[in-house]
Amino acid sequence: MPDQPFPSEGAIAGSGAGGAMNLAAGEAATLDRPPSGLPGGPESTGPEGAAPSAASAERPRSLWSDAWRDLRRNPVFVVSALIILFLLFISLWPSAIASGSPLKCDLAKAQQGSAPGHPFGYDGQGCDVYTRTVYGARTSVMVGVCATLGVAVLGSVLGALAGFFGGLWDSFLSRITDIFFAIPVVLGGLVLLSVVTSNSVWPVIGFIVLLGWPQISRIARGAVITARQNDYVQAARALGASNSRVLLRHIAPNAVAPVIVVATIALGTYIALEATLSYLGVGLKPPSVSWGIDISAASPYIRNAPHALLWPSGALALTVLAFIMLGDAVRDALDPKLR
């Protein structure tokens, strides 16, 4: 095997046209785009696909270590990763930076501006906006992370199977995907979640997974189809590898990059979706603490107390921005065309 990773056919989702950003039409772009070269490092494809590492002194770097090197030097990645780490921290230990309780409110202080110890002021119920904004991170992060995990697992398994086996299951899945795409998301959320009386994040997560998986499954399907045609897959088959081995050891490592990119960007949009649904009154409901609820509650008296709306809005926008920037940076790092 040459030192240089041999070019394999693997399309990074929506690489060129900002397609992955464009969550609505990105999938179509992926499918129509001619496959771009993606160095599927032989070292990542398991023993059959790779030469024995005789020349281990000069091992070619894998796609991932290359990407990691790029990412560490990318200021956009560093900034967004720091923001996300901070968010994870405060969603695990909100009490570390906010001492009070988000549900402790004093009506006498309703709509007042900032005061010592209460930098963001009070909302319409006299609750401390700072504490509520800090505690609101947990809901958003939880919805974003859990929904993305669910969507990514479900979508990539179904999509990969469709791409790998083709045939009837593939055409069936493609039609199902089309059906889900035809339903406006916010509308579906209003209809389905309006029945839910429970006050936990799980119905919202379940709904996002239900309507979100087709997006990932399309990406995964496309990636698996392009990876399937590679020589090393043929070689593995010739050596008698089973379907599951080919899929897991040879195709999956080379098809996972686009899924990761789209999932990261989707995470940001899911957080925004949760806030939108909560704003419309069907996502989470009080006494849950969520930025969407706070923004919705603050909107009627936006004129008297704009701060009660601005702080949670700012936190929400910053969070979504951080995840989208992270996804953007990861996409750039994983797209060898830009190297």
Binding site: G16, A17, G18, M21, N22, A24, A25, A28, A29, R175, I176, D178, I179, F180, A182, I183, P184, V185, V186, L187, G188, L190, V191, L192, S194, V195, G268, A272, A275, T276, Y279, L280, I295, S299, I302, R303, P306, L309, L310, S313, L316, A317, L318, V320, L321, I324, M325, D328
Partner: protein
């Protein structure tokens, strides 16, 4: 081409049936529509049974679906529980949302493509980086936040526009709501145009056009733009359907009595006929937009047609 159209039309049928069936099932999960009819009180069992029979709700779901679809294709979307024809609600709501969508699309085309061309031609320039960062920020701020903030600033603080829209909703009152509705898509259009322009700028036909000595504006408009706009057209076409369905948030903020408003009311009051009817039409609009886009794509790009 004819074959292609027929194939696309046939592909639409299962998607339409599937999507409407899915919505039908979802709405059925929404709870007992008859319970919503008696207000807050519990319905008298005999009355409930009578109503159920009257609306055909005692039949199995698949049968209800078939009956409903049969009616829809004869133009009968049923009656809302307050006795108003759903088609009547639609005839007042859809024109409003249509106007809102048109305003949004115009913003997308004019601002989005202009910014995309300007940045795509100056890749790496400060203008480019600035606009790119701006699009990221715009994408990250959810529509309801943008809407509330612009309403506060332009409508309440500075008094440039009326903060809420009247029932008639003429075009000039829909300017700001249209912009708010368009913001996220506008950012996508900008990014898409930018990438597309930047990619095509290095292509051979552009170099040939420049070598022929054509003036710059002619190279850009005739050669570069025409080829670069193909993906943008696709996006905008598909976006029409998304905007109409997504207008629910914008309509709520600016109190516009369009499709989103009617749907929201329908869901709150458990008015299944309204909800199913509106969503069916929205799905149909979405599918038709996609069909038109695909056909347009085939016209614009011969590679698709002969594939």
């Amino acid at each position: 081409m004819g074959q292609y159209v027929v194939r696309r039309l046939l592909q639409m049928v299962p998607v339409f049936i599937g999507a409407t069936l899915l919505i039908f099932l979802m709405v059925n999960v929404m709870g007992d529509p008859v319970a919503g009819l008696c207000g807050d009180r519990q319905c008298d069992p005999a009355t409930a049974a009578q109503l159920r029979k009257e609306f055909g709700l005692d039949k199995p779901v698949w049968q209800q679906y078939l009956t409903y679809m049969g009616n829809v294709f004869t133009g009968d979307f049923g009656t809302a529980f307050n006795g108003q024809e759903v088609t009547e609600l639609m005839s007042t709501a859809f024109p409003v949302t249509m106007r809102l969508t048109i305003v949004a699309i115009v913003f997308e085309v004019v601002i989005g493509i202009t910014l995309g061309v300007v940045t795509g031609l100056r890749r790496g320039h400060p203008v480019d980086s600035g606009v790119l960062l701006l699009t990221l920020v715009v994408i990250s701020v959810p529509t309801f936040v943008t809407g509330l903030l612009l309403q506060l600033l332009l409508g309440v603080e500075w008094g440039w526009i009326r903060p809420s829209v009247s029932t008639a909703a003429p075009f000039d009152e829909l300017l700001l709501p249209g912009l708010v509705l368009a913001t996220v898509s506008l950012a996508y259009v900008t990014r898409l145009t930018r990438t597309s322009i930047a990619e095509n700028r290095r292509s051979d036909y552009v170099r040939t056009a420049i070598a022929k000595g054509l003036p710059r504006h002619r190279v850009v408009t005739r050669h570069l733009l025409r080829n670069s706009l193909i993906p943008v057209v696709t996006f905008i076409g598909a976006d029409i359907g998304f905007l109409m369905g997504g207008a629910i948030v914008t309509e709520r903020i600016f109190n516009i009595h369009g499709v989103g408003y009617q749907l929201y009311q329908g869901i709150l009051r458990q008015n299944t006929q309204t909800v199913v009817g509106f969503v069916t039409v929205l799905v149909l609009v979405f599918l038709l937009c996609n069909l038109v886009v695909d056909l347009l794509y085939a016209v614009l790009d011969p590679r698709i047609r002969y594939a």
